[in-house]
């Protein structure tokens, strides 16, 4: 599965990186999130799904996978 952070919606709440620190990187300057690699490793999928559900701004989207939530 693939994951994206919408930079216009992200406000830097940092909950995604608490849930999936290996996938979401926080800017050193303002704490806004990005993903270095859109492709999510299989062993990170649960954490990424949780990050999606935890983001207060609904800024994280999972793309192109059946059954995933966004």
């Amino acid at each position: 599965m693939k994951v994206r952070v919408d930079p216009d919606r992200c406000q830097g709440h940092t909950l995604c990186a608490m849930r999936a620190p290996e996938v979401f990187e926080l800017s050193e300057i303002d704490g806004h999130a990005s993903v270095a690699d859109e492709e999510v490793p299989a062993d990170q999928e649960d954490q990424v799904n949780e990050a999606v559900m935890s983001c207060p701004e609904r800024a994280i989207a999972i793309v192109s996978t059946a059954g995933a939530r966004s």
Binding site: R9, Q11, G12, H13, T14, L15, A17, M18, L26, S27, E28, I29, D30, G31, E50, M53, S54, C55, P56, E57, R58
Partner: protein, 456 residues
């Protein structure tokens, strides 16, 4: 102005509710009021305080809070723009009015301030302070550890956020006492209290000290938030002194009472739920993050904020008119069962906890990383050193109303005494002052990335 509601046949405001969050009843009946509002009218019109909308449903709060193009935080104290009244409902009396820093500004101005402060308050910037915070927590606990009793508010949760704020600002650590009492007392003291004159005097002393710091640091730069602000580029010019004072007061007002409130409520809950406390202590590596978010959701220290609609608009099926006031209830949104199953239960492991306790949208609490870090460091040492603490319900004193902050004035507790580990608070602050100065800890993360080093 509005307030004509049902009378004028404005069908948007049919069946107005009577919502007054400044009454003790709102605090006492918070769950019932929330349930009723969310069930009947998650966006409702109330006639109180010259009339205002109340958003209590999560979906409504979420959609409206993020509609920055039609919402204003502006507090037009001098009547230079559209006369909007900022984020307090009701607005403070004209004579006492001052702009609450960039929380009462709109973009682009607000964004310039955030850009100035972000490199001091990002997760990476905040983590550099952990060793210093741990020392302040250690010393605060040492002051009480042999006695076996502590007031978690006065002796711990008030001290640590205040000392760290001084350090980040570039103000002397020992001055935390100048700022501490006025920052809390100005929230919990009712306007008609006989104590008001004393509080006002303390607030003046705090204002004088802030102003002195501005002048001093402008002349002799030393790193920190004050320095960042006096040199800030706000759309091509540096901010005038009255705006600077407003922003510095916002950093203090925004950070002190809220962090104290979160810590005190969480510790009180852990005392009442000793098995959960044991579990949190045992599994803290896995649980502390989610528990912190759950305490934030449940106790929502800043229960809500006001806005003014800056244009006619329609959001989530309701039409709003330019100039109308709105209350966004972060606390009630946090209890919406459509987003949080069993919303009135504390679940330390809660998943999908998209709470709004730090706000939503462009004004998201810029101090959220500071608050979380300080909270976690305080709770961790309490769990380590006072594992069996029991709070005294007789002595616990909650704020009478939660209209502004859901806070606590006192939370006494007893525990099995233990040995001191180091110097007392004053001596520790003197030593830490040297560390701050020598290592220039208050630089932004763009200048200094290393974590504070403290010799023991």
């Amino acid at each position: 102005m509005s307030g004509d509601g049902a009378m004028s046949g404005d069908d948007r405001k049919r069946a107005p509710i009577r919502f007054d969050r400044h009454t003790p009843e709102y605090r006492e009946q918070f769950e019932a009021v929330t349930q009723e509002l969310q069930g009947k009218c998650p966006i409702a019109w109330s006639e109180t305080y010259d009339g205002h909308w109340v958003a209590s449903g999560h979906h409504e709060v979420f959609e409206i809070a993020r509609s920055a193009d039609v919402l204003s935080n502006d507090h037009d104290v001098k009547g230079e723009r559209r006369g909007y009244e900022g984020i307090s409902i009701p607005a403070p009396p004209r004579a006492k009015s001052s702009r609450g820093g960039f929380l009462e500004m709109d973009p682009p101005e607000q964004r310039y301030y955030r850009q100035t402060l972000n490199p001091y308050l990002s997760p990476a910037a905040v983590n550099r302070w952990i060793p210093l915070v741990d020392e302040v927590v250690r010393a605060s606990i040492d002051e009480r550890i042999e006695e076996g009793r502590i007031d978690f508010v006065d002796d711990l949760a008030n001290i640590v956020p205040a000392v760290l704020t001084m350090a980040m600002m570039g103000i002397q650590l020992k001055k935390w006492t100048v700022y501490n009492e006025p920052a809390h007392a100005s929230v919990y003291t009712p306007p008609n209290s006989p104590d008001q004159a004393r509080i006002t005097e303390m607030q003046r002393a705090m204002g004088r000290d802030l102003y002195t710091s501005i002048v001093e640091i402008r002349a002799n730069p030393r790193p920190g938030l004050v320095d960042a602000l006096v040199r800030a580029d706000i759309n091509g010019s540096t901010p005038p002194d009255d705006e600077l004072l407003g922003v510095l007061a916002l950093l203090i007002g925004g950070g002190f009472d809220t962090t104290t409130a979160l810590t005190a409520h969480a510790l009180e809950w852990l005392s009442e739920n000793p098995r959960q406390r044991e579990r949190l202590s045992r599994e803290r590596g896995a649980l502390l993050d989610s528990a912190t978010e759950e305490f934030l959701r449940y106790f929502a220290p800043a229960p809500g904020d006001g806005r003014t609609f800056s244009a006619d608009c329609e959001i989530v099926g309701t039409r709003f008119k330019e100039g109308e006031r709105l209350w966004l209830s972060w606390a009630m949104a946090n209890r919406d069962p459509s987003v949080f199953p069993e919303p009135n239960t504390v679940d330390l492991e809660r998943k999908g906890n998209r709470h709004s306790s730090f706000g939503l949208g462009i004004h998201r609490c810029i101090g959220s990383n500071v608050a979380r870090m300080v909270f976690k460091r305080m709770v961790t040492q309490v769990l380590d050193r006072m594992a069996d603490f029991v709070c005294d319900p007789e002595g616990a004193e909650h704020y009478e109303t939660i209209g502004v902050i859901q806070g606590m004035r006192h939370l006494p507790a007893t525990f099995t005494p233990g040995p001191r580990l180091g110097a007392g608070l004053d001596e520790t602050l003197d030593a830490l002052q040297k560390v701050c100065d020598e290592q220039r800890l208050a630089e932004p993360v763009t200048v200094r990335r290393a974590v504070a080093k403290i010799d023991h």
